[in-house]
Symmetry: C2
Subunit: 224 residues, 2 copies
DNA sequence: CGAAACCGGAGATCCTTCCTCCGCTTTGGT
DNA sequence: ACCAAAGCGGAGGAAGGATCTCCGGTTTCG
């Protein structure tokens, strides 16, 4: 209960303790990626070849473990967005952004749950979203200015479309992990500016609305 | 323990019993539609203004209640597909099919869970799927023959696309229940046969694979 | 070598959800 | 009007999970 990883570093851990800490982190990373954030810490402990007690001695609770892990992961998402801006062709940049971030979600179920909910680590995730947003806006605007992306698409549509595609992945990953690419190709064709665009019916989500959608821990319980 | 609704009709229920049975059915219909199939029978009972015992006396278990309810609903889905075939313009027919079935899912969360899983009422659902399949195939083929729908789209893609769009609904329904229409419009544009179609990368799902995907069970995330 | 740090994992605690049980009430045939 | 059969409510048992604690025994390292 004393040695929280919150404090910078109070004192080096004993050798065995440090080794176990690392094992736990590795096991958790793998498990959360494979099964999502709802994997139990007991399972993490088992995979790490360690007792549950050891996990709880090192991390105050599940939240803390998740937090420690996803600091790294979340940065990667931001990097993908930035890389997309660096691609010369505006449309290719947009495509790369979708492909890149979706491929990440494919390999990491937990990441999806983190990004599309405020249930866990609200602050860290919110920060990351705030960092990504301007970059994505730039990617979108660039593609629209180049006349490649239909102009009636809003920035707030992007996360919604991604959410949509991760859903396909979630269902199909175990059966045929690549079908989401079919859907992506189709969606991208729909995003392309070509003569015959059906007008996008209701107005796009506002920023706060998007926030609310993402915050959706899903399955609200109490009415009244 | 004697009067199971399994037997066709052994003897009319007492007046109060029949009244309660109806109340239970109504409450369950509403609750499952609003919250999905995971609503508890205790909640159904509460909503019906009845004790849990009464529910269990009338329906062997949750499964039986769901079964009794969705016999009606599932037929509606089939009807929508058939109505789509009746529309003169092939493309409009396809569009109507998407709009109609998706709108249904919007108003009934439980229905989505029933259709996209084999967890509940496997037989009845499977039957319905078998009835819908040829109709959908016809709708698709007609639109392709008319040169309106891109030819590299497979029948098995349709449920996947629907699944994808229901996911959007699931997340956005509480915030802005109509944004899914934006996504649908975009997806439909992507399905349209126009000059610049990006080839659909991996081959479409086979029938058994689709079956496996639908069987997935899956309640996306744990709440909390 | 011995004290402080650490370990394992059984199991206490706390949820939920499904369903049963039984004492009391209502119905409807005579 | 009566009363047996049918029905009713809802407390609470059973089962399943997840989170986290506790403590006797082991390891590390000065």
């Amino acid at each position: 209960m004393a040695t929280l990883p919150t404090a910078p570093d109070e004192r080096p851990l004993r050798k065995d303790a440090e080794r176990n800490r690392q094992r736990i982190l590795d096991a958790a990373r793998a498990l959360f990626a494979e099964e999502g954030l709802h994997a139990t810490l007991d399972a993490v402990a088992a995979r790490a070849g360690v007792g549950v007690g050891t996990v709880y001695r090192r991390f105050a609770d599940k939240e803390a473990l998740i937090d420690a892990l996803f600091e790294e992961r979340i940065d990667e998402v931001v990097e993908i967005a930035e890389a997309a801006l660096a691609v010369e062709d505006p449309w290719d940049g947009l495509r790369h952004f979708f492909e890149g971030s979706l491929a990440m979600h494919l390999h990491d179920r937990g990441l999806k749950e983190l990004v599309f909910s405020t249930a866990h680590g609200r602050d860290r995730v919110r920060d990351a979203r705030d960092r990504i947003k301007p970059v994505v806006m730039a990617v979108v605007k660039r593609a629209q200015d180049a006349g490649e992306l239909r102009p009636d698409l809003d920035t707030t549509d992007i996360p919604v479309l991604q959410l949509m595609l991760t859903a396909v992945m979630e269902y199909t990953a175990d059966v045929e992990p690549d079908v989401w690419r079919r859907c992506l190709a189709l969606v991208l064709d729909g995003m392309r500016a070509n003569g015959a665009c059906t007008p996008l019916a209701p107005p796009a989500l506002g920023d706060e609305q998007l926030e609310a959608v993402m915050a959706h821990g899903l399955h609200p319980a109490p009415r009244r």
